[in-house]
């Protein structure tokens, strides 16, 4: 019997052939922590009597969730991270560098076949690069920092075959929202999701990251994709290191294979307060919007900003809508600035905040008021997520967010796309 992508990666990193269900201790290629999880990991590192890190070049800490610091409590935790990286020689992406799930791929240190842990649940994002990357807590992170290893239960794989072509105005965000709505918030718990088919090969790397990013929202441990020319061309921008792609064997064993035809998919919206509460935009359009958010590790990439700008160029967002834009990294911020995309967004009414997580996690940059509706390109709409449990968060694509900001109501973006 053949092996899945994840079985191959875990076999390679544990030095023996493993199958779903086996438990292995495997060597790690890269480790990431952010400002919501690293302080506790540093504490655990000390409790473990940690002295040196296993390899300072395979670790990055990122200050992105509460960045720049909005209060003295956060400042103290940021300082703890800065002190740690100085004493251990580890790289820190400090305020303004961007959100962890953009700066880590841009570091060029993660690629096909890599095994990565990150103390952030959306670490599954790098699955788009044909890497097995998964979210862990602070104590597992600390164990990794010391030993360069973690124990894993080899997961079964749930394969999503996405056939057909997305229509104009329908994006990878709509596809992943649809898939999550279809299999629900725990439909892939303990499993690796694998996305394949022409609808995946036809889209850009920016669009692929969005899909892998949200694997955790169906409970999955990883959101894997195959590597192709687009993968390697994307990596070439950031590294000269060569990676070898990892392909599943044709006789690999899957938990389940689900086939979809995406050709008639319409834009989707996840309604409050769960990510799997998904409706086609036509069923929910007209809902008033008070705040629109473009950005985050899900949809703050250059292509996302361009899509929004193509709808907003030369127009003004509705005066009753606060439109907040958080580019995913400094690199993207600069490119969007140089090519004029950012100017188009700002002229349309965008308030641009520091590259990073923006208002997604409820720490700063736009906490909604009681009873307000938010439409956001983020990945979570849990009650209270953005800092107010009496607000209502809706998730959608950059195009749907831009169209909704313009009209002041949830709007099908295809009205603005020729």
């Amino acid at each position: 019997m053949g092996l899945t992508i994840i079985e191959k990666i875990l076999s390679e990193h544990s030095g023996k052939q493993v199958k779903a269900g086996d438990i292995v201790v495997a060597g790690l290629d890269f480790i990431m922590g952010q400002d919501g999880t690293s302080p506790l990991a540093i504490k655990a590192f000390e409790e473990m009597n940690g002295e040196a890190v296993f390899d300072k070049d395979k670790i990055a800490l990122v200050i992105d969730h509460s960045s720049p610091s909005p209060n003295d409590g956060v400042s103290a935790l940021h300082k703890m991270m800065r002190d740690f990286v100085k004493s251990k020689g580890v790289h820190l992406y400090d305020i303004g560098e961007g959100v962890c799930h953009q700066v880590v791929p841009e570091s060029g240190k993660v690629g096909p076949g890599s095994l990565v842990i990150g103390a952030d649940s959306h670490t599954c994002t790098y699955g788009a690069l044909n890497a097995f990357s998964t979210g862990v807590g602070s104590t597992d992170l600390a164990g990794g920092l010391i030993s360069g290893q973690m124990w894993f239960k080899v997961p079964e794989t749930l394969k999503f075959v996405c056939n057909g072509q997305l229509q104009a105005g329908v994006y990878s965000k709509d596809l992943i929202l649809y898939l999550i709505g279809n299999i629900t918030a725990d439909g892939a718990t303990y499993m690796a999701a694998e996305y394949t088919g022409e609808a995946i090969s036809n889209i850009s790397m920016d669009a692929r990251f969005t899909i892998s990013n949200m694997a955790i929202e169906m409970g999955a441990k990883a959101g894997l994709m195959e590597a192709d020319e687009k993968t390697f061309n994307w990596l070439k921008q950031f590294t000269s290191e060569s990676f070898e792609k990892v392909e599943a064997d044709t006789d690999a064993s899957y938990y389940n294979i689900k086939e979809y035809d995406v050709s008639s998919l319409e834009p989707q919206v996840a309604m409050p307060h769960t990510v799997d509460n998904v409706s086609p935009v036509s069923q929910v359009s007209g809902t008033p919007v008070n705040q629109a958010v473009l950005g985050t590790c899900t949809n703050g990439r250059l292509e996302d900003l361009r899509i929004a700008a193509s709808i907003l160029k030369g127009r003004k967002v509705n005066p009753d809508v606060r439109f907040i834009v958080a580019p995913a990294s400094k690199n993207i911020y600069l490119q969007a600035m140089q090519e004029g995309t950012l100017q188009e967004l700002i002229e349309a009414g965008a308030a641009v905040v520091t590259p990073g997580c923006g208002p997604c996690v409820g720490t700063h940059n736009g906490v909604p008021s009681n009873g307000e509706n938010v439409i956001s390109t983020a990945n979570r709409n849990f009650k209270g997520r953005m800092g107010n449990s009496s607000a209502y968060i809706h998730l959608a694509s950059p195009a749907t967010v831009a169209a909704s900001a313009l009209v002041g109501k949830i709007t099908d973006p295809r009205e603005f796309i020729k």
Binding site: G36, D140, I146
Partner: protein, 165 residues
């Protein structure tokens, strides 16, 4: 290890933002302070309803969402004895074991708020004293038992200098 306490019942998909909101967890490492806000968005007065050793009983997918270890820690420091649910999200489950919060996976359909439960963590047997019923939980994987026996992953590392699973 045997635990006995009162049941606080919650629904499915209890996410880590509900367990401890991001607006608190970024500010401090003082888990006693965070514990006061545990489950606040689902039940504003929850912390004050807890008697030490009580259980949180959920349905499916307990602990879904973020990787914040503050979630199991806030529950632990709120003096909850164990979390019992039909299924757990995987990062929460790992974090709970790593930080020493007992998690028990079993059918919870017939456990109601206020039921008095007696939980034997070693055998996985749960006696619902109020209903006089016994429920059998799924056993923990061996590696997790080893980590729990050492008191969590940090003591495991202190003892062995790395993984010894």
């Amino acid at each position: 290890m045997k635990l006995e306490g009162n049941t606080h019942k919650f629904g499915k998909d209890v996410n880590t933002d509900y367990i401890i909101s991001g607006k608190y967890k970024f500010k401090t490492l003082d888990m006693r302070e965070l514990a006061k806000h545990v489950m606040e968005d689902l039940d504003t007065d929850f912390y004050n309803k807890i008697t030490a050793g009580d259980f949180i009983v959920g349905e499916s997918n307990f602990g879904c969402g973020s990787s914040r270890e503050q979630a199991p820690l806030a529950i632990k420091y709120a003096n909850i004895g164990a979390v019992i649910a039909k299924s757990f999200a995987r990062i929460f489950y790992r974090n709970a074991i790593n930080t020493g919060l007992p998690v028990v996976e079993c059918d919870t359909d017939n456990i109601d708020a206020g039921d008095i439960l007696k939980v034997d963590l070693e055998t996985g047997s749960i006696l619902n004293k109020t209903k006089n019923e016994t429920i059998q939980a799924k056993p923990l994987p061996d590696v997790m038992i080893k980590i729990l026996k050492d008191g969590g992953l940090a003591p495991h590392f202190r003892k062995h200098g790395g993984f010894n699973l």
